[in-house]
């Protein structure tokens, strides 16, 4: 039975009881408990079922490395799956559900998989389910998806808020154990700007549990002293519950602060993602204990030795009255000594080393604990919890020498430095055979922009496992980090701890060393993904000799814990199977984040109203108030149409088109790009950017221009107006404004840097409105202030002056085929001017129209639209726009591209108009059918629809499309395929459907 001890628990506040629920059951714990410690205190040893075989699993660790104790936490909008019980602080009202079982944790039908394990070996996905092909999708995958899996995805929108925070510092210390604190102290005293962060809610790390003395005082007192000194330093920031998640190029670090996980009802953000830019990073991330690979090492009650110690010391929890310790190193003796000290029984310490341990072993013996050298666990007995162990010789094959009843097993296979953050950005490792660990290679650290090391590992994370060595190493790390940022470290003595005599570790990768297949197939390497010693050996046997291949084949280390416990044991097993040494097998790649971080933290504030910047024109609110049905155009929102009560979208669009053609329509065109290009070389520059001439455009006139990419493809169009002798105003498409501005700057900064041209993007300076229709001029005349008559302001000219009483530029341009003016006024006056237009236009039935009416009217006139007629593969010549390509110019961007053979191919599809024979509207994007099929058995095609609308003006479907030899085939009827397999006939016609002679716009 696991239970709460009568006394002890340094992190507990026994004065404050806390109630929580696990699988619906009400349980009690104390403030300061983790969910794992509280469950153990309630004898809830069984915490989940394994991924593949649904084996009963209990907690194995006490911290971030925990693979088994994953729960679904919270309810509804605060539900989150796969939360580790060991890193979940207990709070009043906490609700947790265990995962991956049906119908219940205690009786799980999926556990039958464990009997099928013979049929589910490494790579079983690839082997078993290849044939018949269709079975994979319809039978095997659904079955596997149901039987294998961890938590369920949440169904409700997250109720919490999240944020980011940027900080720039000199030294970032990741890890708040004694190493991190010592390094931060040295760096802080030098005057460097320091952040020191700790993933748990407490400073000091393991040292407070493991004991010892520093500078003559108990470790706990030293920690308190150092923390309070750091707190007084203005240049040092301390953060608890803050984990270094990832190290990236140039000293960029992401850290994950959990602000409200332990108090979810409090106001404020739940998580904060720190985006830190730092000169130096000290990784004082400690070490993780390795399990031992013996049969039954996954049975609830088998735990890491250090974890058992943590539960006793930190939370006053006994995992069992009788604990057998199995180890290959001295550290696990501390667990035996600790447990003995709290009054529990340790029947035996099985030390796999033939020569046994050092000073700690002597101490254990002194306490009367039986110590057996050269002995091992043959197998653990029990189902849902440990009932005993069978003891054997480590050197043998597992012949049982003795059966021993016990309630728990403490195992220790040695300690692996947490090298993840060191490795994220390219830090290399060396295999330290003496200590049986990979540790950071100080000569191959991750380097920053200057080529110098930017990460320094400190303490246990650097392979220094003994307290004295940890302090000395951390002092050195703090000094190096501060010095690297240009600070001077005052000579001072590092804090000192007493040296201790340890016997060396003996690497033990399987227990016993000659374990039979039966034992190996019950010896777990990866608890979370159910990978056993036998699986890795099978992978090696089948030729997966690269560690990365073996990992993927077996799924070793691919679960949410990313193999924190399993990696080293797994690759050691692989090395042994391949008869090679561990360093030549190497490690798999360490990638951020160190442990899973919430999606909310990554998104930060970007959700709801501020998910993305939404660009609003000065008229945005007016549109909203007048029934705008929005269309996103880039980040802008533009009205697609304005719906009136009882009107369908189609009705609204038709009304807008008809009213504009008949009398007066108004369009908010403020989103159109407006780029001012000025300078002595501006004309020459524009001649290069546009396919036609712009340098010879007279002041006061407008010209339609095309812009192509270097490859000759049409990328933007718009009207250019000459403002003055050295200034042009280039209109771009709505989506093109920023892109074309950047395009211009790129050419000016990289290619024609000596040309005297300046460009400014003044898109948002102006509210710009199209005033369109037969009565357009009358409205402007009513406003007064400017002569807008046909004589003074003919088509394709512009003028600046005062309209109403506002400064305005009036462009006589038309995208609808009607008499049309585009008027630009300062954006701050946009709303007022629009209101005036509506008032003065009321007698003409002034009608606001949206983008769809705009599109229909331009299509009726046969004008192309960037993004409809163009798609990045279309050149102006395809669109009958050769007239807009200057023959006089030596060069323009895209000219050479357009001369390539494929571009001059007479068989390129050409733009034409299309009219369905039955008057219906062609489906958008439909292909024109040709005879026969291609090499892939697909129907041959001879064209496609680029724009298609129902024209309210002509009361029929109209379309434009690119068709093989189109312009030469006027009048011919071709067929377009529909998605239902039928086709529709359409006649090739001129693309100008409305007012071919252009009389209407030229009045």
């Amino acid at each position: 039975m696991s239970t709460r001890l009568a006394t002890g628990g340094r992190l507990l506040n026994r004065g404050k009881q806390v109630t929580f629920r696990f699988n619906g059951k009400y349980l009690k714990g104390f403030e300061g408990d983790t969910l794992a410690s509280a469950l153990l205190a309630n004898d809830q040893m069984l915490m989940g079922r394994s991924f593949k075989y649904h084996r009963p699993r209990g907690v194995v660790a006490s911290g971030a490395e925990e693979p088994n104790a994953l729960v679904g936490l919270g309810k509804g909008a605060r539900f989150e799956p796969n939360q580790r019980a060991t890193t979940t602080d207990l709070f009043d009202g906490l609700q947790a559900e265990s995962q991956n079982h049906w119908p219940s944790l205690e009786y799980d039908i999926g556990a039958v998989n464990t009997y099928l394990s013979r049929f589910l070996p490494a790579g079983f996905y690839y082997k078993m389910f290849l044939y018949p092909r269709a079975f994979w999708k319809h039978v095997y995958e659904p079955f596997i998806r149901k039987s294998a899996g961890l938590g369920k995805a949440p169904t409700d929108a997250d109720a919490d808020s999240y944020e980011h925070f940027n900080a720039t510092v000199d030294v970032l210390v990741i890890g708040g154990g004694v190493a991190g604190l010592q390094a931060a102290l040295v760096a802080g005293r030098s005057g460097a700007q320091v952040i020191v962060m700790e993933q748990t809610a407490h400073w000091g790390g393991r040292a407070a549990v493991d004991g010892g003395t520093i500078d003559g005082q108990p470790v706990g007192a030293w920690i308190a002293t150092v923390v309070s000194e750091l707190e007084t330093m203005r240049n040092v920031t301390l953060r608890l519950r803050c984990m270094g998640a990832g190290v990236y190029d140039h000293g960029y670090v992401l850290a994950y602060e959990r602000l409200r996980d332990h108090a979810p009802e409090d106001d404020g953000p739940r998580h904060r993602l720190w985006r830190i830019r730092t000169s130096q990073i000290v990784t004082a991330t400690g070490a993780i204990e390795r399990p031992l690979s013996f049969a039954g090492n996954d049975i609830p009650g088998v735990m890491l030795a250090g974890a058992l110690r943590d539960y006793a010391v930190n939370w006053g929890v006994s995992v069992g009255d009788r604990v057998v310790v199995a180890t290959n190193n001295d550290d696990a003796y501390r667990t035996a000594i600790t447990l003995k000290g709290v009054g529990l029984s340790v029947p035996v310490i099985l030390d796999a080393r033939a020569t046994g341990g050092g000073a700690l072993a002597e101490e254990a013996r002194g306490l009367g604990i039986r110590v057996e050298n050269g002995k091992a666990i043959a197998k653990v007995k029990g189902g849902k919890r440990v009932t005993g162990v069978a003891i054997c010789a480590q050197a043998g094959e597992g012949a049982v020498l003795e059966d021993l009843a016990c309630d728990a097993v403490a195992m220790s296979g040695g300690w692996s430095p947490v090298v993840h953050l060191w490795s994220h950005c390219g830090g290399k490792l060396i295999w330290d055979a003496d200590q049986a660990m990979f540790r950071p290679d100080p000569n191959r650290a991750p380097t920053g922009a200057d080529g110098q090391a930017m990460v320094i590992a400190a303490g246990a994370a650097n392979g220094a496992l003994d307290l004295a060595a940890v302090l000395a190493d951390a002092h050195k790390a703090g000094e190096a980090a501060a010095t690297a940022t240009g600070r001077t470290v005052k000579a001072g003595e590092a804090s000192k701890a007493d040296d201790m005599a340890y016997a060396p570790i003996a690497p033990v990768w399987v227990m016993p060393q000659g374990a039979s297949y039966a034992l190996r197939s019950k010896s777990w390497l990866d608890f979370q993904n159910d990978v056993k010693v036998s699986d890795v050996q099978l992978a090696a046997q089948e030729g997966f000799t690269s560690v990365e291949h073996a990992k993927r084949y077996t799924t070793l280390g691919m679960a949410t814990d990313q193999g924190k416990l399993s990696n080293i044991n797994g690759l050691a097993t692989l090395a042994k199977s391949l008869n090679t040494d561990i360093p030549s097998v190497g490690t798999t790649t360490f990638r951020p984040p160190y442990t899973p971080i919430s999606m909310g933290a990554i998104a930060g504030e970007a959700r709801g109203r501020i998910f993305q910047p939404l660009r609003r024109t000065p008229l945005h609110d007016w549109h909203a108030e007048h029934g705008a049905y929005w269309e996103p155009v880039g980040h802008w929102r533009r009205p697609y149409c304005y719906q009136r009560a009882g009107e369908s979208i189609h009705d609204a669009v038709s009304r807008e088109v008809k009213q504009t053609r008949a009398s007066l329509g108004l369009l908010d065109a403020s989103t159109l790009g407006k780029l001012v290009v000025k300078g002595p070389d501006a004309g020459r520059f524009l001649d290069m950017l546009y396919t036609n001439m712009m340098s010879n455009l007279p002041v006061g006139k407008c010209r339609y221009g095309l812009m192509c990419s270097e490859n000759g493809f049409l990328m933007d169009d718009g009207v250019v107006a000459r403002m003055s002798n050295d200034t042009w105003l280039c209109h771009t498409t709505t989506g093109g404004a920023d892109r074309i501005h950047a395009h211009m700057e790129e050419w000016l900064q990289t290619e024609w840097w000596d040309w005297k041209v300046y460009v400014a993007n003044v898109t948002e300076q102006f509210a710009q409105f199209a005033v369109v229709g037969p009565n357009a001029r009358k409205v402007l005349e009513k406003l007064g202030g400017m002569d807008v008559s046909k004589e003074t302001l003919p088509f394709m000219q512009w003028v600046e002056g005062t309209l109403g009483d506002l400064p305005a530029r009036v462009f006589r341009i038309s995208f609808s085929g009607e008499l049309s003016y585009e008027i630009a006024v300062p954006a701050s006056h946009g709303c007022a001017f629009w209101d005036r237009l509506m008032v003065e236009g009321a007698e003409f039935g002034a009608t606001a129209y949206g983008t769809e009416a705009l599109h229909i009217m331009r299509a009726e006139k046969g004008f192309i639209m960037i993004g409809d007629e163009t798609d990045g593969t279309v050149i102006p010549q395809d669109l009958g726009l050769s007239w807009a390509i200057s023959k006089k110019k030596d060069d323009y961007i895209g000219k050479r591209g357009q001369q390539r053979s494929h571009m001059t191919d007479p068989n390129r599809w050409q733009l034409v108009g299309l009219e369905t024979v039955d008057g219906s509207t062609l489906p958008d994007g439909a292909y024109a059918l040709a005879d026969g099929t291609n090499a892939n058995g697909q129907r041959n095609t001879q064209g496609r629809v680029t724009s298609t609308y129902h024209s309210p003006t002509l009361e029929r479907g109209i379309a434009m499309g690119l068709v093989l030899n189109g312009p030469a085939r006027m009048g011919e009827v071709i067929e377009f395929g529909k998605t239902d397999g039928t086709s529709v006939k359409a006649r090739i016609v001129d693309q100008v459907f409305y007012d071919k002679s252009g009389e209407k716009q030229n009045v």
Binding site: N166, R609, Q612, Q765, H829, A832
Partner: protein, 194 residues
């Protein structure tokens, strides 16, 4: 003539700090050779302003109420009361006659939001949305930054301790204001800057 209406139309928000729309503000984008004597003279004559140093903003000398901010090696942002832009442009055009330059009125293309409150909190709220280093030793009164405000472009400066002025494009003014309001949520203090 109607009164100019800013994008945020006088919006304000109180949280960790106070946000306030500063209303219509005169702004001119001026590009040219910032090192030339002619440029210095023209800017001085038009607005009584000096050419600012790298990443700095200069307040006006004497009676003029303007500021000049460093935007890039060949670009300044001149800030002045909304009504003074016309006269300033005329003066600049005269002063830069014969030079290669560009001067454009961008008053209506921008929004200006002021953030005020305890200095540490003002920095903190901004540090949630911009990667620029806002430590008091490295971002001081008179410093000017062009940077990012979460997903939008922006510029900001510190006219005095406890105040940061933020300039962004008009179309994203609501986004930036909402963004800063979220960052200024009263329960979200970071307690970082001291």
């Amino acid at each position: 003539m109607s009164d100019p209406v800013s994008a945020l139309n006088g919006a304000s928000f109180d949280g960790l700090v106070t946000l306030r729309d500063r209303g219509p503000m005169g702004m001119i984008t001026l590009r040219g050779d910032l090192g030339s004597g002619v440029m210095a003279k023209a800017v001085d004559k038009a607005l009584g302003l000096a050419i600012p140093a790298l990443c700095r903003i200069e307040p006006a000398k004497g009676v003029c109420q303007g500021q000049s901010a460093w935007m890039s090696p060949d670009e300044l942002l001149l800030i002045m009361p909304y009504g003074q832009v016309g006269a300033a442009l005329i003066s600049l055009t005269a002063g830069l006659e014969g030079q290669h330059y560009l001067a454009q009125d961008v008053s209506d293309a921008r929004a200006l939001i002021s953030i005020s409150g305890p200095d540490a909190l003002v920095r903190e709220v901004m540090a949630k949305v911009t990667p620029a280093d806002l430590h008091p030793d490295r971002f001081k009164t008179g410093d000017f930054r062009r940077s990012r405000l979460a997903q939008a472009a922006g510029a900001f400066w510190m006219p005095e301790a406890g105040r940061i002025n933020v300039v962004c494009f008009r179309s994203v003014a609501t986004y930036v204001f909402d963004l800063l309001s979220a960052a200024a949520d009263p329960a979200s203090a970071v307690d970082y800057f001291r």
